[in-house]
Symmetry: C2
């Protein structure tokens, strides 16, 4: 995850913001006009975090929205007895618009950097203003929330109704197809964190990885992971 140096906010305004806000038609920001962008870019802050740093902290008030420019981060809930529940891994151009821009709520999760991260903090008051003024943007934001919501419902069912094998299969497929999109991929997260994504103990996760390895479904090698038989994983995921 190499970083180009010396890209402060002013330097990259033209390049980075355009990239975040326009080039990707999937982006929440794709519907903004040039004037809208000016509003957002006006006071945004481009900030860097080192691996391990906390980007947003659960239970603080949500004064900013964050847009990831580079790097990976985990989004997790700090639950009971120090247990964590990792909801997802976010990367380039992902967008964190937690709990309450709209009510004056607190965030319901913590975000922390898995690699070095570069991201923009945008004043949520400005997002709210755009939301009121540009209905296309409002609709995009609403879509974004709906998708998030439906992903949550999905994990809810996966975590409460599947056996451990199914949950491990789920996380492996998620990492391969939604996060890294390459086949042998490097894991920036520990076994403990993998377990935290699957709501189980790390020992259990390790044991099941080993089973998958001996049956030739995966080929783990330190922090790298290769999926050898995706069909099998999908089938395990479906059958619980």
């Amino acid at each position: 995850m190499a970083f180009k140096e010396n890209q402060n906010c002013e330097d990259c305004k033209e390049v980075c913001c355009a990239r975040c806000f326009h080039n990707d038609s999937q982006s929440v920001f794709s519907r903004l006009t040039k004037d809208d962008l000016e509003v957002l870019m006006g006071n945004r802050q481009s900030i860097r975090f080192s691996s391990g740093e906390t980007i947003l902290k659960q239970n603080t008030s949500s004064t900013h929205v964050v847009c990831m420019k580079r790097g990976l981060a985990k989004v997790y809930i700090e639950g009971m007895n120090g247990k964590k529940l990792i909801l997802k891994i976010i990367g380039e151009l992902d967008f964190i618009c937690g709990g309450g821009i709209f009510a004056n709520n607190v965030r319901h999760f913590t975000v922390s950097a898995l690699t070095d991260v570069e991201c923009c903090f945008i004043d949520s008051e400005r997002i709210l203003r755009l939301f009121s003024e540009n209905s296309n943007f409002a609709i995009e934001l609403m879509k974004h929330h709906n998708e998030q919501n439906s992903a949550l419902l999905n994990t809810l069912v996966n975590l409460t109704q599947k056996y451990m094998h199914g949950r491990v299969a789920d996380t492996l497929l998620y990492l391969k197809n939604d996060v890294f999109r390459t086949n042998p991929f490097q894991l920036p997260i520990s076994r403990q964190e993998l377990a935290d994504m699957s709501a189980m103990a790390k020992e259990s996760y390790v044991r099941i990885l080993k089973e998958f390895k001996t049956s030739g479904i995966i080929k783990p090698n330190g922090n790298s992971m290769e999926i050898l038989n995706e069909e099998a994983l999908i089938s395990i995921s479906k059958n619980g």
Copy 2:
């Protein structure tokens, strides 16, 4: 749950819609103008369901938004191997705005009547129109989604990180404080459904109810339920 007879749409327009849309300042609809209301009421359909009927079905497309006028309904996901996961119980003036008004998505849950239910179906295309035209309404809707989202995160942690005792305590407190708001209350749902709210087997739910009964925390009597020691329940809920 007695119903007044012969209240079709036209008859109750003035009474019911005003009640749904204005009298409750908590309502998503509280920010609508008179003209807005006309738009919504124009083609809304007031529909009755008997206990047990399906109001909205998972995986159908979300062409309508539903507003509960009378009665109770359960919102649940049809998960793996015929298992159900009950997300919440909704009642008077609650509002169901599932997955994708905004994308052309399918619903992610089923809603079915626990008692006789009277509710309004509103064309979601009209909601979308209002969303674009009235930014106050848009903000209210967004708040609504945020609250829903944060409730989901909460259940996610509760169901994955608590022991069964804590989960049973959670459902009992939820029913008393959020659904019925009276102390001895009548359960319109079976033990199986209680278990489906808590992600566990009905036998386990029954066993824990018995424990709570013998330790004097609750007094179950057939379908009625009385909370005798709420402090104890809260403590059990907190400690997992």
